[in-house]
């Protein structure tokens, strides 16, 4: 446990936070779109799980394969 806290304090958070924010923004856009857009390829709840639980890859997969454009 001490090792983990030590490692966390060593990390320069000003570098990591932008990455986390961008990941979060991507997730929120995909989530809101999936939630409002009722027509997805495959069940909607699966896509919501994919978006929320797979960082970066999940939202990208949703935008490419999950979204139906018509």
């Amino acid at each position: 446990m001490e090792e983990v806290t030590e490692m966390l304090s060593e990390v320069n958070w000003s570098l990591i936070v932008p990455i986390l924010i961008i990941q979060f923004v991507l997730m929120v856009i995909a989530f809101v779109d999936c939630f409002r857009h009722n027509r997805t390829n495959g069940p909607q709840w699966v896509w919501i799980l994919v978006i929320v639980f797979f960082q970066v890859i999940g939202p990208i997969l949703y935008f490419i394969f999950g979204r139906r454009n018509d």
Partner: protein
């Protein structure tokens, strides 16, 4: 010209509505930031998870600025191209299936304008995403490791963008040839990989090829000068791009007139 601009605006509006103008730039920015940061923290990451012996850790040097920029371009050439190809594989097939294409083409719209507007929009979105993502990579490299001269960065990026346009043109050409989206994606990615592989295996016979552009970009980051025969491959790429756009328009016109008259 006015007609072309209207078609172009329609493409942009469509991409804004289905969030392409949002998520593709975000993906490029994300990978642009991640590459310098992971390179910078690599020794610490290995130390905490890798279980390498102590002596091995001293041998991992922090890479130089130009090297990190080159690695970022490598990331863009893999994940970036994958994302772009998957995002645009349906550029023509989708409109065909939904019937939009028919509604546009019954109007007196030239096939050339229709296709080049699509091409221009795809390229604009790809280049904008690349510039955004790469600016973040340059900034993080500057803060974390060392700064690379701005002139080298810009020159290298321009050379790399040309290679990107080549890939976008491939997507367009294959979309006019095949109705299946999977075929478009596989052929574009496959051909891109084959071209870059051949270029790295036989740099002499492939000195003209668009696949050489990224290695020229790498050497520009380091030294400010492209490799041997850089202008040859730039000229050839420009030629290939314009010929492919021409072929795409020709095929598309023939195919559509044939299918409408029958």
């Amino acid at each position: 010209m006015r007609q072309w601009f209207i078609l172009f605006k329609k493409e942009c509006l469509e991409s804004v509505r289905n969030f392409k103008w949002l998520w593709i730039p975000i993906v490029f920015i994300l990978f642009g930031i991640m590459q310098p940061v992971t390179s910078y923290y690599l020794p610490q990451i290995l130390e905490s998870f890798g279980g390498l012996p102590e002596e091995a850790l001293f041998d991992i040097p922090v890479p130089s600025g130009p090297q990190i920029l080159a690695e970022t371009l490598g990331q863009f050439s893999q994940i970036g191209y994958l994302v772009l190809v998957l995002a645009f594989m349906g550029v023509i097939a989708e409109e065909k299936n939904s019937g939009t294409q028919l509604m546009i083409l019954v109007k007196p719209v030239s096939y050339g304008a229709y296709l080049t507007a699509k091409w221009a929009h795809m390229s604009l979105l790809a280049v904008t995403s690349f510039i955004l993502g790469f600016s973040f990579a340059v900034y993080y490299t500057h803060v974390l490791i060392e700064s690379v001269p701005a002139a080298h960065v810009i020159k290298g990026a321009v050379v790399y963008i040309l290679g990107m346009l080549f890939v976008m043109t491939l997507i367009l050409l294959f979309s006019t040839l095949f109705n299946s989206r999977a075929a478009v994606a596989f052929l574009t990615l496959g051909l891109t990989i084959v071209v870059s592989l051949l270029s790295s295996l036989m740099p002499n016979t492939m000195r003209w090829s668009p696949g050489m552009l990224s290695s020229h970009a790498y050497s520009i980051f380091g030294t400010g000068e492209g490799g041997e025969a850089m202008w040859l491959s730039i000229a050839c790429t420009l030629l290939i791009i314009s010929v492919m756009v021409g072929i795409a328009v020709y095929i598309f016109r023939n195919k559509e007139t044939a299918s409408h008259s029958s």
